[in-house]
């Protein structure tokens, strides 16, 4: 297993800059998730590390050594894709053995059998070993693809949205299994996804990527509670963080004067450029507290049942905001309800740049 470092990587496709001065440091044995929307540069990053593409600038280190001149095979990393590329006419066992039978590897038959048996046991696919892969379900096929990566005992696992073709329930189960597997193997995982739930639930650390740039790196807790900007704030978390635009006047953010005014620390205003007073107030739905003594008032625009809780959309003036309430709370559309914000959880962003005006703890990149 090995540490992976990307230093100031830039990659262009014709005039389009796919990655712009990207630096990452993934610790040995770490589960690192690269999270971002389609087109952010996630897959490009994986391909560069795997050696399937070369960067235009910057360097890539695996286990401390620069691998810029190494071929894909020499880098000893394993890629798992969204589409399981298995050999359909081979059995599961043959598919697992395949990567070990290459001419470049001199691995004894005993060793091959041992590795296949161990991988099959870890992934709980022992009962499928003699089955042809075209007779497997989607979840089983993805387990076999992961098994094919495991038997190689690579220095790094690279995973490109491996769960996104599976249905919701299976994704949920495999999410936990993958995390379990990574902990058991003590392996370095770089996992790419556009699904924030996967990122939050599996990552030791999450790097949020947008337009080829890293926006924020941190633990799931840091990313969720201290988003660096409004992009991270709305991309991570469901429902998306409420964002309300307002101006600072006399120590308050005025969103809707008289109806929605929020006290703000003086320190926030000092971080704005001189003459600028417009900010975006961010508050997560679970920090909008509906109930007596709220002090603010909103009309109920919609109610969504989520089983364990309800998500209520409140309308204040022209502003819509979402609040999480207990499933048992009776709440009728078009009624007026009191609410308040959890003052300790409010985020303030500069309206113009979207950057968080509060202290955002940056994850120090190892060294």
């Amino acid at each position: 297993m090995a540490r992976v470092e990307l230093r100031n990587i830039t990659k262009k496709f014709r005039r389009h800059t796919a990655l712009n001065d990207l630096s990452l440091d993934i610790g040995d044995g770490e589960f690192f998730v690269l999270l971002g929307p389609t087109g952010a540069g996630k897959t490009t990053t994986l391909r560069l590390i795997a050696g399937l593409d070369a960067p235009d600038a910057g360097s890539i280190l695996i286990g401390g050594g620069d691998v810029g001149k190494w071929s894909a095979a020499e880098r000893d990393v394993a890629l798992v894709f969204q589409y399981y590329s298995l050999y359909p006419h081979y059995t599961v066992r043959e598919n697992l053995e395949f990567p070990l039978k290459s001419k470049h590897r001199r691995i004894s038959a005993d060793e091959v059998a041992g590795r296949v048996a161990r991988a099959a046991k870890t992934l709980r696919i022992e009962h499928l070993l003699e089955r042809k892969t075209d007779r497997l379900s989607g979840g089983e096929m993805q387990r076999v693809s992961i098994g094919r990566a495991i038997v190689r005992q690579p220095r790094v696992f690279l995973m490109d949205e491996p769960l996104s073709n599976l249905d919701a329930k299976l994704r949920e189960i495999l999410r936990a299994e993958l995390k379990d597997l990574q902990m058991k193997l003590g392996a370095t995982f770089l996992y790419v996804t556009h699904d924030q739930v996967e990122a939050m639930s599996m990552g030791d650390k999450v790097g949020v990527l947008n337009h080829g740039r890293i926006v924020q790196i941190g633990t799931p807790h840091q990313i969720y509670n201290r988003p660096r900007d409004t992009f991270v704030a709305t991309f991570v978390g469901s429902p998306a963080m409420n964002l309300l635009s307002g101006v600072i006047r006399d120590g308050r953010v005025m969103v809707a004067p008289g109806k929605l005014e929020i006290p703000v620390e003086a320190a926030v205003a000092t971080r704005l450029p001189q003459g600028v007073d417009r900010v975006t107030l961010g508050v997560r739905s679970e920090d909008v507290m509906v109930g007596p003594g709220g002090g603010l008032e909103g009309r109920v625009y919609g109610v969504e049942n989520h089983g364990v809780e309800k998500i209520v959309t409140l309308k204040v003036d022209d502003h819509l905001l979402k609040a999480t309430v207990p499933a048992r709370m009776a709440i009728a559309v078009d009624s007026t309800v009191p609410f308040t914000f959890n003052p300790r959880k409010l985020q303030f962003f500069a309206a113009q740049t979207g950057v968080n005006l509060g202290p955002v703890k940056e994850e120090v990149n190892h060294g």
């Binding site: 995390k179 902990m183 699904d195 807790h221 469901s238 049942n305 364990v308």
Partner: protein, 369 residues
């Protein structure tokens, strides 16, 4: 506006049933969601209501009148598909106005209706744009506008937001529901996404392999699933289910999870209710949602020690895997409540949120404690 009734509807291909003995009542102005995995018969049911698909037996009534003999066009129903089928050469305005052009409405009335619908859908500013200039969400808004502008008796939607990304789906969900509350068209909505169903429906009908499993309000199907399939299909994370057995105790009922992996104390009445049901004491499946697995950091009466395994921090809360012996049960806790994998904490199952199923048939024993 009107109600829709399905009586003993069946459809089959040779030996295979697509829909089996389906009885369903959709009341006037109701928002009913047909929920199920792919291939469960939900889309076929929707298409049968629309008149796009023939049925082999049974009856479909709209407004109390049988409609089998009526063509799709004469059923006064609007259909919205997952893929927005807009006319590419027409503006959003003309796309929405299209169904009215064939009618005898005056220009003034058409204009008024189009603008009303566009305002409700918040696309008033996009009316002169062609579909190619619109985002996916806006295209679907136009498609819905085109369905609503006719003021049909019923609105049928087949995964209308399934092709949109997660954030947009979240937004559209709330909007569609709001539009429904405004115009009150009887709506039948098909989806495989239980979050969508729970969030939008007045009533959910859950189907599996052509058979209706349960009909009820979102809180009904969530709190009182009729069987294991419904229990595990609705809700995320998935309901924990382990095989179990019960024994009478001294003033309590003992619930055993797995093969004596964990012994839990439940109220006395549980044993009597299972016996009343004439159900075998050791052929139970015990189901509990993550929020029904209660966790304490210290030893607490009625709680048993369990080891924490994987912790998924999801933001507002964590999902923690707990080892009840060999059985893994997932619990929903406050964020950061259990610190790390390997920690020993104390846990029990909330009896009010624990479900007992027949382990062979999967049917709920309907025991409420």
């Amino acid at each position: 506006m009107s109600g829709i009734t399905l009586k003993n509807v069946e459809k089959y291909f040779g030996e295979n049933y697509i829909i089996r003995k389906l009885n369903l009542e959709i009341r006037d102005r109701e928002f009913l969601v047909l929920l199920g995995p792919s291939g469960c018969g939900k889309t076929t049911t929707l298409r049968a209501i629309a008149g796009l698909e023939d049925i082999d037996s049974g009856e479909i009534l709209i407004d109390g009148k049988p409609v089998q003999s009526r063509q799709a066009a004469d059923r006064d129903i609007a259909f919205v598909f997952q893929l927005f089928a807009l006319y590419p050469h027409l503006t959003a305005y003309e796309n929405i106005a299209f169904p009215l052009r064939a009618t005898q409405e005056s220009r003034g009335v058409v204009d008024q209706r189009v603008r009303e619908v566009a305002k409700a859908l918040r696309i008033g500013n996009l009316l002169d744009k062609r579909p190619s200039a619109l985002s996916g969400g806006d295209m679907q808004r136009v498609a819905i506008g085109r369905a609503l502008v006719r003021r049909p008796k019923a609105l049928l939607m087949d995964e209308p937001i399934g092709a949109l990304d997660a954030k947009l789906r979240e937004e559209m969900r709330a909007e569609l529901k709001h539009i429904h509350l405004q115009n009150e068209a009887t709506t039948v909505y098909v989806t495989h996404d239980q979050v969508e169903a729970m969030a939008m429906a007045d009533k959910i009908a859950i189907m599996n392999e052509g058979v209706l499993q349960q009909v009820g309000s979102p809180s009904d199907v969530y709190q009182y699933p009729a069987n294991l399939f419904v229990g595990q299909f609705v809700g995320s994370p998935i309901m924990n289910v382990v095989s179990g057995a019960i024994r009478p105790g001294d003033g309590y009922t003992q619930v055993m999870l797995g093969e004596d992996d964990a012994l839990l104390r439940f109220p006395n009445e549980l044993y009597h209710k299972v016996v009343e049901h004439r159900h075998a004491e050791d052929e139970l499946a015990v189901g509990v949602r993550p929020e029904g697995v209660l966790v304490a950091r210290q030893a607490t009466d009625g709680y048993i020690p369990v080891e924490a395994h994987i912790i998924e921090p999801l933001g507002p809360y964590d999902i923690v895997d707990l080892k009840f012996g060999k059985q893994l049960l997932r619990s929903r806790t406050a964020s950061g409540y259990v610190e790390k994998a390997g920690d020993v904490v104390w846990a029990r199952l909330d009896e009010k949120q624990t479900h007992f199923f027949n382990n062979r048939t999967g049917e709920s024993l309907q025991i409420r404690l």
